[in-house]
């Protein structure tokens, strides 16, 4: 119901782009705000604080600096005004607030293969800020205070629902198209390979198809993903080469992407894991331990043949990373459940040796106790 309300709000705002609000040329121009815009910024500031207070922000300084560096490269004249935050959320999402805060979800970073693909999204979000799309939409409802009130009513008390929250700052379709155009120009000007922008949207589309869902609500007001793939393909058809920055991206985000696999697994989002790791090309972007996560994803999916696939992955990672504890546990439990007690016990014991502080130690010890041969009856 809440999403319907927000959807109605977004639809109401989907009016032609306001012509008399000019984009900012640089950060200095943002120092003096009219009252309507100031009100929007204050609401956004409160939203920033609410997110931080709720512990939703990933504080990793190196990663945050990396993301900020990409944004500063895309919008050098707004350095110090656009602030990028990494959100601990797995939805494929990013959004910009009226005050220049740009949020990028960890799950989004995990879906991409290089910096140019991520830069495509960040350039788009930066354009929402520099072109003052929030204010334009507020003007369209004729009353910025009412707009801010709606934001306050829908947003601040509901920080838990990040999808809905990011959606409330959703922009009209016209604004999305403009942000795509501006973002593309920024991508080229910053020296990134613009052809990667096509892959950005292909990854998002693949993810949506894997989940068998409608396009996420956040994208509901955007042009459809396939339309955007076509548009960016046409734009970049004759584009010059640029930087992709694959190695830098994979190195800098390695820990985050692995953590993202774990988070997906912990939330039973096995389809995303299989989408990424069953692709041999993508698999090379991860260390050998990733085979364990793929095995777990197969186990969670539980279709015909998946337990055999899982066993194959567990065994492969036991060979390549024998000191990595989780596959010892996973294979041990698989064999335990299958009734292969003699084979399960050494694996489970090895798991506890490798991970003496394992949080599930109680379960494993309980199962090992069950595996002990029963005393013969007198």
């Amino acid at each position: 119901m809440k999403r319907l309300v927000i959807g109605a709000l977004v639809a109401a705002l989907a009016l032609p782009v306001q012509a008399d609000i000019t984009p900012w040329a640089n950060a200095a121009e943002t120092r003096e705000l009219a009252s309507d815009e100031k009100s929007l910024w204050q609401e956004a500031d409160e939203f920033d604080q609410a997110l931080a207070h709720a512990g939703k922000i990933n504080p990793d300084p190196a990663l945050t600096a990396y993301l900020q560096g990409i944004m500063d490269r895309l919008y050098p004249e707004f350095k110090g005004r656009i602030h990028v935050h990494l959100l601990n959320a797995q939805h494929i999402n990013a959004f910009a607030l009226p005050n220049g805060s740009v949020y990028v979800n960890a799950g989004l970073i995990a879906r991409f293969q290089n910096e140019a693909q991520l830069a495509t999204v960040m350039a788009h979000e930066g354009a929402h800020f520099t072109h003052r799309h929030s204010l334009q939409q507020a003007e369209q409802v004729k009353n910025a205070a009412a707009f801010a009130l709606v934001i306050a009513m829908l947003g601040v008390p509901l920080v838990g629902d990040l999808v809905a929250l990011s959606s409330m700052f959703g922009y009209s379709r016209e604004h999305e198209r403009e942000a795509d155009e501006i973002g593309y120009q920024r991508l080229v000007a910053a020296g990134y390979d613009p052809r990667e922008s096509v892959h950005t949207f292909e990854h998002l589309l693949a993810d949506i198809k894997a989940e068998d869902i409608q396009e996420p609500f956040f994208f509901a007001s955007h042009p459809r993903l396939q339309e955007r793939i076509d548009n960016f393909s046409a734009l970049s058809k004759d584009a010059n080469n640029g930087e992709i920055a694959r190695e830098r991206y994979l190195d800098t985000t390695a820990a985050l992407r692995l953590a993202s696999l774990e988070a997906d697994l912990a939330a039973y989002r096995y389809k995303q894991l299989i989408l990424v790791l069953a692709d041999p090309g993508r698999r090379r972007e991860y260390p050998p331990e990733a085979a364990y996560y793929l095995g777990e994803a197969y186990r969670q999916r539980g279709e015909t043949g998946d337990l055999e696939r899982a066993e194959h992955e567990y065994r492969s990672v036991l060979e390549t990373a024998p000191q990595f504890a989780p596959p010892q546990r996973a294979l041990g439990l698989l064999l335990y459940k299958r009734g292969d007690q003699a084979l399960a016990a050494p694996l489970l014991r090895r798991y506890l040796e490798l991970a003496p502080d394992a949080p599930d130690r109680g379960y494993i010890e309980h199962y090992l106790k069950n595996l002990k041969p029963k005393e013969p009856a007198p």
Partner: protein, 185 residues
């Protein structure tokens, strides 16, 4: 007012009185039997929500400050967030994994911290004991304790939740006693 109007008004008042959704638990009403499936002793002094007949919902100081919910569902009812079902042959750690996945699949508890995840028993059956902490939308730390199990009939869980500061500890003993009183029939 006609006789007919008076009668309708009287019936409305009676039905409103009958629909009062809360009832204080006293020593005479504490034993709860659910569909010849299980029995559980509710803590005296708590208030029971009487409107929902399939679950037990009780609170001592109001739902925002503490509550215990008992939930019994057949295996084929999908969990709301992961859309998974449970199975009678699930091992306890698998039930714990699925329960945590269910909680992590909703933004409100996505960043939960697991304080304890251990095997236990419920009504004499192997079960899981999950204790987590998360921050609500206002940044207030909340603790949740769940004891759950699966059997041939479905899944059964008791969940206690309260703000971590003061309230959780205050009523935890009532929850533990309630969980220990569960008898499967």
């Amino acid at each position: 007012m006609t006789v007919r109007h008076a009668l309708v008004l009287g019936l409305m008042l009676i039905s409103l009185a009958a629909c009062t959704p809360w009832a204080r638990v006293d020593s005479a009403s504490r034993l709860e039997t659910k569909a010849s499936d299980y029995t559980v002793e509710l803590p005296v002094g708590w208030v029971k929500h009487t409107a929902n007949t399939s679950d037990i919902f009780i609170t001592r100081d109001g739902p925002a400050l503490n509550y215990i919910v008992v939930n019994r569902q057949p295996h084929d009812v999908k969990l709301p967030h992961t859309k998974r079902i449970t199975r009678a042959d699930m091992l306890p750690h698998e039930l714990a994994e699925l329960t945590l996945a269910e909680w992590k699949s909703t933004d409100a508890t996505a960043n939960l911290e697991v304080l304890a995840n251990t095997p236990t028993t419920l009504g004499g059956q192997p079960a899981v004991r999950l204790h987590i902490r998360y921050k609500n939308e206002r940044g207030l730390p909340i603790e949740r304790l769940l004891i759950g199990m699966v059997d041939a009939k479905g899944r059964l869980s008791l969940q206690y939740e309260a703000p971590a500061i003061v309230y959780f500890q205050r009523s935890q003993a009532d929850f533990e006693a309630m969980a220990a009183s569960v008898r499967l029939q």
